[in-house]
């Protein structure tokens, strides 16, 4: 009897391990030779990026390297001038941002873009827009279906607020809460759409050390939700602390990628970026 149980355990365990390996190998987001040109400036130049499922990947590089531009092309705000973006194997060409979030990519912005004059709760409720579908007439007439959906949206939003630690500010206008909380609110809004891939643009920018630490813990917790995370970051503690994979960008091109510790000691990277950063670090 005991032996049978042991066998079952082993079988189940190895099945799980296979799944884990399969997940780690699965590519969630990929860019092939991605190019974006603004007038005379090639902001992104034949850029290849791979983000693996279930992992936290970081995109780093000096200011002006083109990192945010990559995000903007991936999320549909800009149209690529060359190359492809593949999400779960699907080509995202020509899709608008509201379609892309529906496919499962949610993002935050470098300069926080919240709905300032709406409450925190409303901001997060807005995040669920792509996961709900009650239309105009249903809303005007307040059909039972619409009311039920509104209640669900509200509940989900409240849960997300609790998850990002902003439950007590739910009725406060977004513009009135502290900066660090605003960053978390934006993440909460992105999470509300139940994404597969979460893209965060400098989430720790403007946060103090304690807040950055909390952010690291929080991001790690998200992995348990089957989320994949892609970060742009300048804070090396955050990058080193949680990344499974780091890609380095400079002047629109990829100059290195690999495990955090490998990238950290790559002389090219140090020269382009880390070296300067070390001098400026307090």
């Amino acid at each position: 009897m005991a032996k049978d149980n042991n066998n079952m355990e082993t079988i189940i365990k190895s099945e799980q391990e296979n799944k884990e390996t399969a997940k780690i190998n699965k590519v969630m987001l990929q860019t092939n030779k991605l190019t974006k040109i603004f007038g005379g400036l090639t902001a992104v130049n034949n850029f290849d990026l791979k983000v693996s499922q279930g992992q936290i990947s970081s995109l780093i590089g000096p200011n002006g390297a083109g990192k945010t531009t990559v995000f903007n092309v991936v999320t549909g705000i800009y149209k690529a001038d060359g190359g492809k973006v593949l999400f779960k194997g699907e080509d995202l060409a020509g899709k608008k941002p509201h379609q892309i979030i529906k496919k499962g990519i949610a993002r935050t912005f470098q300069n926080i873009r919240l709905f300032s004059n709406m409450t925190c709760l409303e901001n997060v409720m807005a995040g669920q827009h792509c996961r709900s579908n009650e239309g105009t007439w249903a809303s005007i007439l307040r059909t039972p279906g619409q009311r039920k959906e509104e209640l669900e949206i509200k509940e989900n939003a409240e849960n997300r607020l609790k998850q990002v630690g902003l439950w007590r500010w739910r009725d406060e206008l977004a513009k009135n809460i502290a900066y660090g909380n605003q960053r978390m609110l934006e993440i909460g809004r992105a999470l509300a759409s139940n994404p597969d891939l979460l893209i965060l643009d400098e989430p720790s920018s403007g946060l103090n050390d304690k807040e950055s630490e909390d952010l690291i813990v929080f991001l790690k917790s998200l992995l348990k939700e089957d989320l994949t995370i892609l970060l742009i970051e300048h804070d090396m503690n955050v990058v080193m602390g949680i990344s499974h994979w780091v890609t380095v960008m400079d002047e629109g091109k990829k100059i290195a990628e690999g495990l955090p510790e490998d990238v950290y000691s790559n002389p090219q990277v140090i020269e382009a970026y880390l070296g300067k950063d070390e001098e400026e670090e307090e």
């Binding site: 999320t75 705000i77 608008k96 941002p97 509201h98 979030i101 529906k102 993002r107 912005f109 873009r113 919240l114 709905f115 300032s116 004059n117 709406m118 409450t119 709760l121 409303e122 409720m125 807005a126 995040g127 827009h129 792509c130 996961r131 709900s132 009650e134 239309g135 105009t136 809303s139 005007i140 007439l141 307040r142 619409q146 959906e149 509104e150 949206i153 509200k154 009725d171 206008l173 809004r189 759409s193």
Partner: protein, 332 residues
Amino acid sequence: MKSNKNINQKNSIFQNWLVILVAILFIALPFIINAYWVDVLFFFGVYALLGLSLNIVLGEVGLFDLGHMGFMAIGAYTTAILNTAFGIPIIILLPISAIAAGAFAWLVCSPIIHLRGDYLCIVTIGMGEIVRLTLNNNPFGITGGPNGVFGIDFPSLGNIFVVDSSTKFYYYIWLIVGLTIIGLVNLQRSRVGRAWNCIREDAIAAEATGINVRSYKLLAFVLGAGLAGVAGNVYATKLMMVSPESFNFMESCLLFCIVLIGGMGSIPGVLIGAAAISLFPEFFRTFAQYRMLIFGLAMIVMMIFRPGGIWPRKRGAFKVESLLIKAGEENG
């Protein structure tokens, strides 16, 4: 916390009694005042409906629309022409006028909906002017030129319910306004209203949050135009005639001010704004010459001292809007 709860309870009780009181007053009013003032209150109702219709576009979504009277004109003239030429009953023409105005909005706004705020503003002015000028020029002989179209019937359901007196028109318009308010409040508390407000706050973030910005902007225009078309229908049938000058740029500006002075996105605010616009001139009849001058001054003063509007929108999902004006509640 306990005192808060008490205050909230007191607020609710106060609110309910206030609403009941206002409702009773409203219903009884025509029997207390003379016909002239009943007419004034009728036009208050029309401005209220127009203000609410513009509020969707300007207040909820934040789009500068300075040509809104063009939509009302479409509705009014649709009613006028179809009624005088084909004898179609006014009641049936009400939804038809709404649809005509809405369709017109959809047609003309689709190519320009993406324009930046100030440019959209001038294009809407242009649209409004194009409508007015075209109506004035009597194309194909159907609009009657500067004199317009006259001989429009009253709304009626068979021979029993005929709206043909000042009092009946008063109830008619305010019934429509009441229904409109209910519909709009429902919209405000729904996914649609939320999407609109998100667009107003930050269109790029809204798009990235999953809102089809273009669709929702168009929706706002179409709904706003439809309601304006309804207002046009009622207006035409009360006056029994329509002429292009009723729908000029000045009127569009006044509508704009109603929404802004009342408080953007705020339904009670729009009602107050409409009251101000329609009742203000009445109190200054003796100073007829200086009326608009004082009105213009009042606008400037209002914006200096209370730019958020007289009754700014109070936010809070699922909260009944408090009827008590909180000092310093700036939501502009």
